[in-house]
Amino acid sequence: MNILVFAEQRDSKFKKSAFEAVSTGRTLADQSGGTCTAIVIGHNVTGIAAELAAYGATEVLVVDSPRTEQHAGGAWAAAIVQAAKAGRADIVLLSATQMGKDIAPRIAVGLDAGLGADCTALRVENSDVIASRPIYAGKAITEIKVKTPVKVFSIRPNVFSVKNTGGTAAVKPFNAELTDADFAAVVTGTKVASGRPDVAEADIIVSGGRGLKGPEHYHLIEELADVLHAGVGASRAVVDAGWRQHDEQVGQTGKTVSPSLYIACGISGAVQHLAGMSSSKYIVAINKDKDAPIFQIADYGIVGDVFEILPELTSRLKETLGQ
């Protein structure tokens, strides 16, 4: 099967999830005896295209023009549809970032394809691709099959590994034919929040709940997060109380996260919160209440006071990590 992978870049820098997508495309191509081509869209991005060779793309198509300086979902999708048709792609693969989630359905309609969205596993089985995807915020997992001849899949960030296989790629400009209608929704500006990794992409997350007792104590969470270069998360209670912004909320009506390490501090572990973080590789819980449900899914726990434990953890990690 021929795989076309959309590799997301922002400010001429690839997201780590783009490397995950290319690596996954390479794996699918190898499993099915096909090719892995990547596509990059933007302005002044030709220079970074060759980076994707390391992750297994043997060809990188580049749409590089002033018109595609600012992101426009319609234009990005149209370009990818054209490239998929030109290259007879059987599968279009993207990372399920906010951008990926925006353009994947458009690509699917453009190719008369079914879309398996936000998948956590993909495998080739004869001429099919079987995907796993969580539902009910991870309370159940489904295996799905896309029945159309061309298939679109988006993969959850931070779940698939980045595989540096080395190799070379032919970088080719791709002439996408874009109309004004493709630019009917266009980005006009960007605001960066904190400079910390977003919880949806972070490899380590330190998260706080009502046990922190007030917004004035949340610096304990932030200080620990900064030592670990981690993202900062929050329970719904803390967001609803106005202590933290919604983009930090982890849970069924917040973000579903899959870090290598999730440190839950002063979080009791309501069903909805667990749904959002239970697929973390390792979970640490710090809570005064030994009966808090969070301890049922934690790998390691300290039944103690966050006000005592967090500063100790932060200062000892600073020493250990030489900061």
Binding site: K101, P134, A185, V186, A193
Partner: protein, 249 residues
């Protein structure tokens, strides 16, 4: 202004999901259903736009008869009309979008709201699929919306680590993220008035299945972890375990 809101009827977030005997759906016994939370932000935003520009808000929901409960909630919040596209079978995202798009073509709204994802299947596709099928632009994960009177809107949407501003030409599809607004509670007056607002039931346009569910399972249960200690003296051991055993730091 004609505004449409597409809404879904889903198991509430307290539900402990169990898989039904067919292994491809959930066991509905004892499950309480609710309006999908992100859709509620869509309803509220539609009502605010009607307050600003005058016009009409229609709520549309595809599913079995139970979906009428969710449509009634929308009517009680203040939506003018409700349309129930009836289908008892579970559809994939494409099937839902196709039927909604057919209905929306006839209605011709200026703005169509969806929740950013439905909290049952978490596909997050339907809103954008409908936009693509109707040839409309769309903006997803919207936390702020300003509609000018000039046929354009400015949205703020969430991206990883920040926000971006998007300018969009109407008509357009907007998918709502938490933070877009604070949804109103239906007033008693609204609940009473809703009883007189009809829910129009139509059959949902048939569609082929593009994505098939092969199986559904609970995730593997986690084995018990270890309590490392009860005070700050446990911290060095925790760090050691994370470094040597888990190898995550």
């Amino acid at each position: 202004m004609k505004i449409a809101v597409c809404i879904n009827h889903v198991p509430d977030t307290e539900t402990k999901i169990k898989v039904a005997g067919d292994n491809v759906s959930i066991d509905k016994a004892g499950v309480n259903y609710m309006l999908s939370p992100y859709d509620e932000f869509g309803i509220e935003e539609a009502l605010r736009l009607r307050e600003k520009f005058t016009g009409e808000v229609v709520a549309i929901s595809l599913g079995g008869d139970a979906n009428k409960d969710t449509l009634r909630k929308a009517l009680a919040m203040g939506v003018d009309k409700a349309v129930h596209l009836k289908d008892d079978a579970v559809r994939d995202s494409f099937g839902v979008a196709f039927a909604l798009a057919e209905e929306l073509k006839a209605y011709g709204p200026e703005i169509i709201f969806f929740g950013k994802q439905s909290i049952d299947y978490d596909n997050g596709q339907v809103g954008t699929l409908v936009a693509a099928m109707l040839g409309l632009p769309s903006v997803n994960v919207v936390v702020k919306l300003e509609v000018g009177g000039d046929g354009t809107a400015v949205c703020e949407r969430e991206i990883e680590g920040g926000h971006e501003t998007v300018q969009v030409k109407l008509p357009a599809v907007i998918t709502a993220q938490k933070g877009l607004n604070e949804p109103r509670y239906p007033s008693l007056k609204g609940i009473m008035a809703a009883k007189n607002k009809p829910i129009e039931t139509k059959s949902a346009a048939a569609a082929t299945v593009r994505v098939e569910t092969l199986s559904m399972k609970r995730p593997p249960a986690k084995s018990a972890g270890k309590i490392v200690g009860t005070d700050k003296s446990a911290v060095p051991e925790l760090i050691r375990l994370l470094h040597e055993e888990a190898k995550v730091i």
